[in-house]
Subunit: 687 residues, 2 copies
């Protein structure tokens, strides 16, 4: 494994150093909850209190106490990336461009808040021992990684651990992290292999699992008078909290996406800091840094358009990542793009031109506006990290097939889509593909799991190539039975047909019966292959929103909203639509109401679903999901990322609609009434 | 599948025709046992009573009512097999030889009783629905066959059924039959997929599952004056009970083994009848007809030796199946034999020569004797039925391997032995092989299961060839990493070594880490192969017993007993010894005390572990298990059948010891006090 991309191992199971309010100090194993509660009360802990560091600024201040002794300045990592300047440009650096009078110059600051995933099922796992090995059952997105981390945490061979992932109630990235599985694994060994289970309360999920990083972006841009972005600089500071979790990777992803969506004509310079604080540790969450970056990028686009007198729609169009774009650092290439068509669809849906004009120069307490945001999102983690997935297919006696994967269903419909992919690859109807819906690391092929919108792209290719190998084995066996060359045969609708005429020549049922029970040649037809994915591709999309703003109340009401996505070919349009609806809902909460709030001691004030303002069905407008289907040439079935993208563009679109409605640029999330009233007052809207 | 060897499908889930006392008439599904009991009481059944047919003689009598209308004469099957007479012999038929004055002529009749397996865990299974499919969890020896039979019984695609076999508490062949799994599967569909479980009581296990067939053997033999067996005839009648279960296969196996152990110089003629009666249906039980046949064969040998003045030990030696013997009907070949050495070991252990002489001509109420019996037993079911098995091996990240099989552990130690086999095949230490100890038909490779002492032979070869394929893949990957030809490398003690010098060149841990996580070439190394076994081989062994007979009490006490086995190479000597101990115990119960007894209505009188006289630890002498290890050339590791054989020779050895002690030939089992007292009285020993 590549050391540079490994998570920082700064979390021990239980220590005597408390780094945030709510940090683990001790574990009690008891027969039942009542006994456990009693035992907990019997534990006396003496705390030596330090001044908590609740912001990156405080943590980076000279003399601040180190959250981890290994990191005296609390800066987990600092990155500084400059694209090379074109020699013919005459500029030495991005800074030179940003100081050049010939261009429009822009500066700004945007910041996002800490929010929580709020998956329905809390984090829960249990462990027990069987035959000297530890069995861990977990609500996880990443069973094979749980196995590795438990092995590493306990210092035992990974093969001595078996991880089982049943159906789970959502994850959104929070279950992409190994949380309490190693503790349970450790404790079951301590109690002679008896089952040790830990199910977090909702409050504990908020405090003791992960969240989305608050990231601030200081930005500068130089824009040519014709609207071409010449150069940008950004400085992103990510509030890491008290443990590294995914470490610097999230802010690194953020500044990368910041760079990619609108490739600067001359150069780009970005810096990023990941800073320890005494807050609960954020980690992976749907979008992995991009909702934060996209908020900055897309607010900035509207703010620049307003400042420089550009049309925000055309300004975007003019600077969009083109087909064939290659990222200068990671080489990720734009193999396909339907973003322009997405923008056209969204613009038509929202009546952009009409309403942009209509809502200019409003007065009065209730005003309306329309806003938009676009985004790009890569598919999977290559080449930043390894992408590898295996698939296994085994013929059943009735001519159906078992599909075994290490990739995981986490409520996103993965199993359905994998089933369709397998069916298409083999030439079967979907009903004849039986997917194994749980993962057991003792039997499931290896796959790193559900994250980074990777599975349909990476696992999808493993399914496709395994399906093709499986089909070849079916045809070889059919060829043997029928004494005809395999090339003359094909599998269509789940039967062996003449490749030329399409006429049925042998049912799969008969082939399977013969393969299993033949006295002449019995073979249990199976195929297994690994796909190491060495490519990546950009998914795209946009959001258009129409809002009504009650200025005195500081209340934003979303009247209409549409997300339009280019996720390549849609494998299952219904699931795709549902995925977009969910992401839009998450985006609306991010835009308007969600925020984890802490007091001066770093105590979480609203770590429950009553005080934490997750939008309910009543808070939602009608959510419209539209698609532009491209056929991505690098993908197994033309498909691209869709799991995470829907959450990305909603917040900046709503914020830009608010800007359109009121002329007031609010640069931090969420757009809460308190904040808006203050902003409107500052802007003189409340007299 | 070959129709000729299929079981007869005469059993429906629930019908209105009752064929034995205790037959199923209705099923109740309830929330709990109390409700179920109440509901059962509310069911009123009216029976029209017929005269029960409790013996084959009654069932075959003219005018007897058909147990199944499809079989009017109640003879499920009649076989008649004659080996061709050598033309140079001058005899036309076995009957001619048996009428020839030049030979010693012998006639006799031997009969065995019905006994039960008495596995610790009763028959238990449950079924529920998940995603439209039926999941069956069963205490079974044959999960993949349960899947097939449930599919056939319900008339649904087999792929729509998933069978899971957890650890089970013994089977001895009773769980080689699909018992109540289809009923549970049917009922869960009827109750909307809720879990339906049926756990039999011990009484129900006796009455409603299988047992060992009572078989009678009428025999004739012609023996040359020098002690050579020239020809034999036997007529075996098997008491089938009310359903076919394994049908005729068991008595067919019995007459086949009858023929094989002492190949007749001139010819052999055997007949077999399988006859329906109104008794619970017997089925497969450890030995599958051979304990019955061996009782007849080996009693007959001693009776002939006594009658013709031959030494029973030398008489056997002289007529034993030779190395290279080929069965005239099924072609099964004696690839290896250590039977002579087994006999020598047993004879030395029991002090045969000394005690045979010492115990001649005893008088008085308490007498001692020594007896012996030898046997042969084939390994697996080829060529009578298909033999096919697959194995799958998958590398773990720590350089250990997952071994996945459809073959089942049923308490015999299969998993341990499979682990050793895999380790040997790959070049790993056993501790680095992790076997999946349960079978789930959704993920486990196909294997027909645990029966016919087949798994170490048939599955063993699948493991061996898969291990070799897996090892080749390891070496290929090592070769790629090390840039050395694979032929220069080997896997020894779980590491990659220089094939020439044995020096370590790469740890498997490092190889695995690279294979999983390599940016250059990530592959999840796995191998899966099917082995279709097209061979068979004979295991051999013998039992020597010394008994003390209390003539007035009719009580036989076994003083010393030894089984000596040629099961080829022993994969695990400790498990082998334990297997023999268990079989000897089963054989002692068969010899002395066990018998299912019925009243005149066919009502089982002793269907529980109080009244059914299973021997306890207190009833056992010290059990000695010895081995002669041969290296069978047809076997994956030189190994041959061992699961069933130990139960075979005990009863005739004890019976022959009784004959030696008293001169009284008791020709039916068990050798119960009542029966012995009557026999001794008839023989004038009790005056």
């Amino acid at each position: 494994m590549e050391a540079a991309h490994q998570d920082v191992s700064d979390r021990r199971l239980l220590t005597d150093r408390i780094r945030y309010y709510g940090d683990d100090v001790a574990a009690v194993v008891a027969e039942d909850e009542v006994s456990a509660q009693r035992a907990l009360k019997a534990i006396r802990v003496e705390y030596e209190e330090y001044e908590p560091l609740l912001t990156p600024e405080a943590a980076m201040a000279p003399g601040a106490r180190a959250v981890h002794d290994e990191c005296p300045d609390n800066i987990l990592r600092h990155m500084d990336l400059r694209t090379p300047m074109p020699p013919e440009s005459g500029f030495q650096s991005v800074e030179d461009v940003l100081a050049c009078d010939s261009y429009f110059q822009f500066e700004g600051r945007y910041a996002t808040q800490m929010v929580q995933h709020c998956h329905i099922e809390p984090a829960v796992s249990y462990a027990y021992m069987e035959g000297g090995r530890i069995v861990v059952v977990s609500s996880t997105q990443i069973p094979h990684i749980v196995r590795r981390v438990c092995g590493q945490a306990l210092g035992i061979p990974w093969g001595d651990i078996r991880v089982i992932k049943p159906y789970i109630g959502g994850g959104f990235g929070n279950k992409q992290e190994v949380l309490y599985e190693p503790l349970n694994a450790f404790l079951t060994r301590a109690v002679g292999g008896r089952c040790v289970k830990l199910e977090l309360t909702r409050e504990e999920v908020f405090e003791n699992t992960r969240s989305r990083h608050a990231i601030s972006f200081d930005v500068k841009a130089a824009v040519d008078k014709d609207g071409t972005i010449m150069a940008r600089w950004c400085r992103a500071v990510s509030t890491q909290g008290s443990y590294a979790s995914h470490g610097n990777a999230i802010v690194a992803n953020a500044i990368t996406a910041f760079r990619q969506l609108y490739p600067d004509r001359l150069g780009h310079h970005s810096e990023a800091y990941t800073v320890y604080t005494n807050l609960p540790a954020p980690g992976a969450m749907r979008g992995y840094g991009i909702p934060q970056a996209n908020f900055a990028v897309e607010c900035m686009m509207d703010d620049m358009a307003l400042k420089f007198g550009l049309d925000p729609y055309r300004f975007r169009l003019q600077n969009l990542m083109p087909l064939g774009y290659v990222d200068p650092f990671n080489g990720i290439t734009c193999h396909s793009t339907g973003l322009r068509e997405c923008m056209e669809k969204g613009r038509a849906f929202i009546h952009w031109d009409e309403l942009r004009e209509k809502y200019e120069n409003q007065t009065g307490p209730v005003r309306r506006g329309v806003g938009m945001a676009v985004f790009s999102y890569k598919t999977g983690v290559w080449p930043i990290s390894l992408e590898t997935a295996s698939a296994r297919m085994v013929l059943n006696q009735d001519g159906s097939v078992q599909l075994q994967l290490g990739a995981t269903e986490i409520g996103q419909g993965g199993d359905t889509v994998f089933t369709q992919m397998a069916a298409e690859s083999i030439g079967f109807p979907s009903a004849r593909v039986h997917i194994v819906s749980f993962q057991d690391t003792d039997t499931a092929p290896f796959d790193t799991g559900a994250y980074a919108s990777r599975q349909t792209y990476v696992t999808g290719m493993a399914i496709k190539q395994t399906g093709e190998a499986f089909k070849r084995k079916l045809l070889d066996y059919a060829s043997e039975l029928l004494e005809r060359p395999a090339e003359e045969l094909d599998v269509r609708d789940g039967e062996i047909v003449d490749a030329g005429t399409g006429a049925l020549v042998l049912t799969l049922h008969d082939l399977a019966q013969e393969a299993f029970y033949s006295f002449r040649h019995s073979v249990h037809i199976a195929a297994e292959t690994t796909h190491q994915c060495r490519d990546n591709t950009f998914a795209f999309g946009c959001c258009f929103a129409e809002v009504e703003v009650d200025v005195p109340l500081g209340k934003v009401k979303v009247l209409r909203i549409v997300n339009v996505h280019d996720s390549g070919r849609l494998i299952n349009p219904q699931l795709a639509e549902a995925q977009v609806h969910g992401g839009m809902s998450m985006g609306l909460g991010y835009a308007l109401s969600e925020e984890m709030k802490f007091d001066g001691k770093g105590r979480l004030l609203n770590g429950n679903l009553l005080d934490y303002k997750l939008p309910t069905a009543m808070d939602h407008p009608e959510l419209t999901a539209l698609f532009v289907e491209t056929e991505d040439p690098s993908a197994p079935f033309g498909n691209k990322a869709l799991g995470e993208p829907p959450a990305i563009p909603v917040a900046p679109a709503v914020r830009n609609a608010l800007l359109h409605a009121t002329g007031v640029a609010v640069n931090t999330l969420p757009l809460s009434p308190q904040k808006l009233v203050e902003a409107f007052a500052r802007a003189g809207l409340l007299s």
